[in-house]
Subunit: 590 residues, 2 copies
C-alpha cells in the first residue's frame, strides 16, 4: 500500500529525473529550455476560456512581490515565495495539501540590499531535487520528495550587495545561477554547480580579465568578429570594472543541439555614465556560453556605455523560423532599451532590431549597416543622452524609463501563430546622474529619476503581439499599468497574462481580443503557467503586488522619486490592490 | 455627472442611515440585531449551490487571523483586517476597486498584549459612519463615503492589558463596544458612545460596586430573584474583583421591542481558581441591559467560580419559537462550557440547558430543579474540578478544553428549519493551575494546559444542527479541526461555514449533507456572509488562519503548550494551510 502511494505521488518525478519531460508538467521556471512559455495543452481554447473558473487557491504565507511561477512535476506542485523564500510541495490530488514546507533561515539584513523588492523568481527541478536560490545567494538543493536539504552552497555575499532573486536553471548535470546587485556595484557572474553535490564547475563574469569572463580573444565573436584580448577590462577606465555591474538576474535559455546557454547581463555600475567612460563591456550583453565549460561562443552588446539603466537581463527566446526563405535558428530578445532583437543564435548574427514601443526616443535606430563603424550600435539622440547632458542635469522625457519597455516579465512565443506575446511598460522618465562613491554593500546608484506615462497618454503598459521576423507590432492591447506578469501561450489559441491591478486575462492569440478576466486577490507580477492533472488542464498564477513597479506598495514608500523612481508613476496602484501572496488555480467547470 | 456617480455609489448608504436595512445588504457584523446570521436571499439553493464559483477576490494586505466578515451597504463593501486593522471600502460595481483605505497608526507593542492572535472581528455601520474598534482600544468613526475620521475615542489602555478585538454594535443612536484582556486581569465592561460625537453615554462593568455594574439590587434579577446589594463585590475575596476579568469581546444582540442588549461576560481572572474564592459574579454571565441606560434587567451566571476558562462571551441568538405550545421570546447561547442554553429573553428564565457535545464531562448537568439550592448551576464532577484538585495539580481529561465546545465563532439560526447551526470544537485538555501575581500589563493566566481530541477520536470539531427547544443535536458533521468560522443560514435551504484547512463548505440545512466545498487560500476563521448586488446573490468569506486555534501558525509558536495550550492540538494545521488574508467572493455562473 505504501509503495502504491509513493508511486502515485512521485511517479512522474522519476520520469523527469531521467530526462523525460512531458507536456502535462511545468517542470522548468521558463516552461521549456527555449523559454517560449508555450504549452501544447489544448483543452482550454479560445472558444471555452470564457467559462474558466477558480479550482483552488493557496496562500504562500508571505506578502510583497511574487514573481515567477510554480512548477508541476507529476502530482506535486512546488510553490515559492519572496523573502524569506518559503518553498511548498503541494499534493495536487488533495487540493494542494502541504506535503512538505521548507523555509530557509536568512538574515533579514539582506532585505535593504535588494534594490527592487524582496522578489524570488522561482525554483528549478532536476535529478530529484528542487533548487532554491535564496535572497542571501545560498543555492540549496532540496530532496523533491521530502524537502530535506541535500546540499547547499553560497553563491555570493550580501555584505557586498550581492543577492539572489533569479530562478536557477538546470542544464543536464549542472544547475546555473546568476546574481543580483547592479545598484550596489556588484560584478555580475553566472556560475554552474554540479547537480549532484553543488561543486562549482565554472563561473563566467560579465567583465574583467578574459580568464574571469571565459572569453576567448580569438574564438569568441561579437557581430562576427573576434573580440580580441582584454575586452572585459580595456573598455573601462581603471579598475571600475571591478565594481562594474552587469548582473545576471534574468531568465536563462538552452539549446541542446548547440549546447549553448543564453542570457543577458545587466547595467554597468554606477547609473552615472560620467563615472565610467568607455563601452563598459560586457555589460548590457547577450551571452552565448558553452554549457559545459562556460566559454563564450559569441556576445552581443546592445547598449554600449549605458546612460539610462537599460539593464540587458531580459530573456532570450529560442525559436526556429524562416526569414527571407531561409530556415534559421533564432534568438529573440525584448530589451529594456525598447528594441526587440532577433539574432541567429548559432553565431550571434544580428537580423532584426526594431522598437517594440513606438514611443522609444533615446535612439533613432540600431545601425544595421554591416559596413558602418557603428554597426550594431544604437544611434543615440543627444537630447536624451544623460552622458552628454552631464552630471546634475535632469534629462527629461526619456522613453522608455529605466525599467524599460519591458523588464524581467517574460514574453511567450506560439509556434502556431509565429508571434511573440510581450508584456510591456509604456513609461518615460526624467533622469539626473550625480557623482557617487563606492562603499561595499551600500547603494551605488548615482542617479535620481521619476517615471510617468508618455506625455498625453494614461496607459502605462501594453500587451503586444510581435513578429520577430520583421520587427513589427501585430496588435497591442493597452493596459492602465505596466504589464509586469509573464505571458503564457497555449495550443488552445490563447495567451494569458496578469495585470498589476490583479486581473488574470486571456486573449485571442491571433487578434488580442479579451476572452476572459478574473480579479485575483492582489496585483500580478508572477508568470502564468499551465499543467494537466487527472486528465484536466489547469492554469495557475501567483498574485502579490510588488517588484520594481509595485515597490511603493510593497515597501510602503510614498515619496514619488523613491523606489528608484517607480513610486510616483505607480502611485495609483493603491486604488486597485493591496499586498498579497496567493496562488490561484483555474480550470474549466466539470 | 458627479452627482449621478455619487448617488450611484452611495445611494444605499442614505437608505440605511435612516434606519432602512434591507435583505440585499449585510449591514451589521452579526447579520441582524438578533444575531441569527440568517439571510432571506434565496437565489443560491440546495439544488444549485454545487455550481457556485469564485466571482472575485481581494487581499487585505495583512497576514494572521482574519475573524469577522465584511459589511455590504448598497454598492460598497467594507473589509477589515487584523492588526494594524486596515479598513477598505470596495466598489462592488468594479470588482472591488478601492474607494478608500484607512490604516490606523498603532503602537505595535499592543501585539504581545493580545492573548489569542491579532484578530479583529469587524466594523459596524450607522449614521453614515463606519466604526472600527482598533487593537489599541481606540474606537474610530469614519465617514463611510470618504474614510475620513469623524471622531475617535480611547476605550481602554493597552498598558494595562486592555485591547480591542470585538466588533462594535450600533444600537439606535449609540455604538457599543466591549474590551478584551481577561488573561491580563482586565476588568470587563461594555461602553455605549453617542454615534454622533463619540461622547460616552454609559459604561457597565462585569463586576464591582452596583454603581459600576449598573445592577439594581432590587430590580435586576438572576433566575427570577433580585440579585441584592453588592453582588459584584461580595462574591469575591477582598479586592480581587478589581482585576476580575469578565471581559466582553463577543457578539452583541439587541431586541428593539424590549430595548434590551444581550451579551456574555468572560472568565474571571486569574485562571487559577484557588486565587479567587467565591462565585465571582458577574463573570461568565449572560447580561440583558437596557440599551439607553445600561441598567441590567436580568443576568444569568452560567459557570459560577470558573475553574477551566469557560469564558461566557459567546453570542446570544434571539428567536421567537414555540415551546410546549407556548410562543416564547427566546435567547439561545452555546457556551464555552459545553452547554447550550435557551432562556426567555424577556426575564432570563432558564428553559433548556443541555450538552451540545456528548463528550462534555466537567459537569453532569445543569440543575433545572427550581426548588433546588443549586438551581441553574452546573453540577461539577470532582475529578475534573481544578479547584478541588488544587494548585500545581495537573487535572487531566477535562472536556471541553479551555477554548470551549464553541468559542467566538458564531452560530446561525434558520427560521425555516427552526434549527441552530453551530460550529464546534471537539477538544479536551489537561489543566494545571498555579499561583500567579498581578502586574499591570503582564500576563495573568495562572494555569498551563494542553489540548487534544477526545481520547480515541481524531476529529477536533463538528458542525452541528441543534434544536434549541429540546436541547438535542439533530445532525453532526465531523471535521478534522475545530470549526472556527461563523455559520451562515439562508432561505435557500443551505448553511455555509469555513474550516481551518481553508474550505468553504455548504451543507443542506435539513440533513447536513455536504453540497459544495472550495479550498480558499488560507484557513478560515472568518464568518460567512451573503449579499445581493446587481440582482445577483453573492457569498463571501475572509480566509487567514489564526485566532486561538491557529495561534501556533499565526505567531510562529512551536512549543506544544504555548499559545495557551493550543499549539500542540492544532500542530497538524501546518500540513494544510499557511498564513493568509484574503476575501473570496462566490456566485453562481452567469
Amino acid at each position: 500500500m505504501r509503495k502504491f502511494l509513493l508511486s502515485s505521488c512521485f511517479g512522474a518525478l522519476a520520469a523527469l529525473a531521467t530526462g523525460g519531460a512531458n507536456a502535462q508538467d511545468w517542470s522548468k521556471p521558463t516552461g521549456d529550455d527555449a523559454n517560449t512559455r508555450y504549452s501544447q495543452l489544448n483543452q482550454i481554447t479560445a472558444a471555452n476560456v470564457g467559462k474558466l473558473q477558480v479550482a483552488w487557491t493557496f496562500s504562500t504565507g508571505v506578502l510583497r512581490g511574487h514573481e515567477g511561477a510554480p512548477l508541476v512535476i507529476g502530482n506535486v506542485m512546488y510553490v515559492h515565495g519572496p523573502f524569506p523564500n518559503p518553498v511548498y510541495a503541494l499534493d495536487l490530488d488533495h487540493d494542494g495539501k502541504i506535503l512538505w514546507k521548507y523555509v530557509p533561515k536568512q538574515d533579514p539584513n539582506v532585505i535593504p540590499v535588494m534594490c527592487c523588492d524582496t522578489v524570488n523568481r522561482g525554483v528549478a527541478y532536476g535529478d530529484g531535487k528542487i533548487f532554491l536560490h535564496q535572497a542571501d545567494t545560498t543555492l540549496v538543493a532540496l530532496d523533491a520528495k521530502t524537502g530535506n536539504v541535500v546540499w547547499s552552497v553560497k553563491n555570493g555575499d550580501p555584505a557586498k550587495g550581492e543577492t539572489g532573486t533569479s530562478a536557477p536553471m538546470v542544464i543536464k548535470d549542472k544547475v546555473l545561477v546568476g546574481i543580483s546587485g547592479g545598484e550596489f556595484g556588484v560584478r555580475g557572474s553566472v556560475t554552474a554547480y554540479n547537480i549532484k553535490d553543488g561543486k562549482k564547475v565554472w563561473r563566467g563574469y560579465s567583465m574583467g580579465p578574459d580568464s574571469d569572463t571565459l572569453v576567448d580573444p580569438q574564438k569568441t565573436t561579437h557581430l562576427g568578429k573576434p573580440v580580441g584580448a582584454d575586452s572585459g577590462t580595456n573598455t573601462w577606465e581603471g579598475d571600475q570594472w571591478k565594481i562594474g555591474g552587469g548582473t545576471t538576474w534574468g531568465w536563462y535559455s538552452y539549446d541542446s543541439d548547440l549546447n549553448l546557454v543564453y542570457y543577458g547581463s545587466g547595467n554597468p555600475s554606477t547609473w552615472n555614465p560620467k563615472q565610467r567612460p568607455g563601452d563598459n563591456r560586457w555589460s548590457m550583453t547577450i551571452w552565448a556560453r558553452d554549457a559545459d565549460t562556460g566559454v563564450a561562443k559569441w556576445v552581443y552588446q546592445m547598449t554600449p556605455h549605458d546612460e539610462w539603466d537599460f539593464d540587458g537581463v531580459n530573456e532570450m527566446i529560442l525559436t526556429d523560423q524562416t526569414i527571407n526563405g531561409q530556415a534559421r535558428k533564432l534568438l529573440t530578445h525584448f530589451d529594456r532599451n525598447g528594441f526587440g532583437y532577433t539574432l541567429d543564435r548559432t553565431n550571434g548574427e544580428l537580423l532584426v532590431a526594431e522598437k517594440y514601443d513606438p514611443k522609444v526616443n533615446w535612439a533613432t535606430k540600431v545601425d544595421m549597416d554591416k559596413n558602418s563603424k557603428t554597426y550594431g550600435r544604437p544611434l543615440v539622440v543627444s537630447q536624451y543622452s544623460t552622458d552628454q547632458n552631464g552630471e546634475d542635469h535632469n534629462t527629461k522625457g526619456v522613453c522608455p524609463a529605466a525599467l524599460g519597455s519591458k523588464d524581467e516579465q517574460p514574453a511567450a512565443y506560439s509556434p502556431d501563430t509565429q508571434l511573440f506575446y510581450v508584456p510591456t511598460n509604456h513609461v518615460c522618465m526624467d533622469y539626473e546622474p550625480f557623482k557617487v562613491s563606492y562603499t561595499a554593500g551600500q547603494p551605488y546608484v548615482g542617479a535620481t529619476l521619476s517615471m510617468y506615462p508618455p506625455p498625453g497618454e494614461t496607459n502605462m503598459g501594453n500587451f503586444i503581439a510581435w513578429d520577430g521576423k520583421t520587427g513589427k507590432i501585430v496588435w497591442s492591447d493597452p493596459e492602465q499599468f505596466s504589464v509586469w506578469s509573464g505571458a503564457l501561450a497555449t495550443a488552445g489559441g490563447i495567451v494569458f497574462y496578469g495585470t498589476l491591478e490583479g486581473y488574470l486575462k486571456a486573449v485571442d492569440a491571433k487578434s488580442g481580443k479579451e476572452l476572459f478576466r478574473f480579479k485575483t486577490p492582489s496585483g500580478i507580477i508572477g508568470n502564468v503557467m499551465t499543467y494537466q492533472h487527472g486528465g484536466k488542464q489547469y492554469v495557475a498564477v501567483l498574485s502579490g503586488v510588488g517588484g520594481w513597479a509595485g515597490i511603493g506598495l510593497a515597501a510602503g514608500l510614498t515619496n514619488p522619486t523613491d523606489g528608484l523612481g517607480a513610486v510616483g508613476g505607480y502611485a495609483a496602484l493603491s486604488n486597485y490592490t493591496a499586498l498579497g501572496g496567493q496562488l490561484t488555480v483555474f480550470a474549466l467547470p466539470q
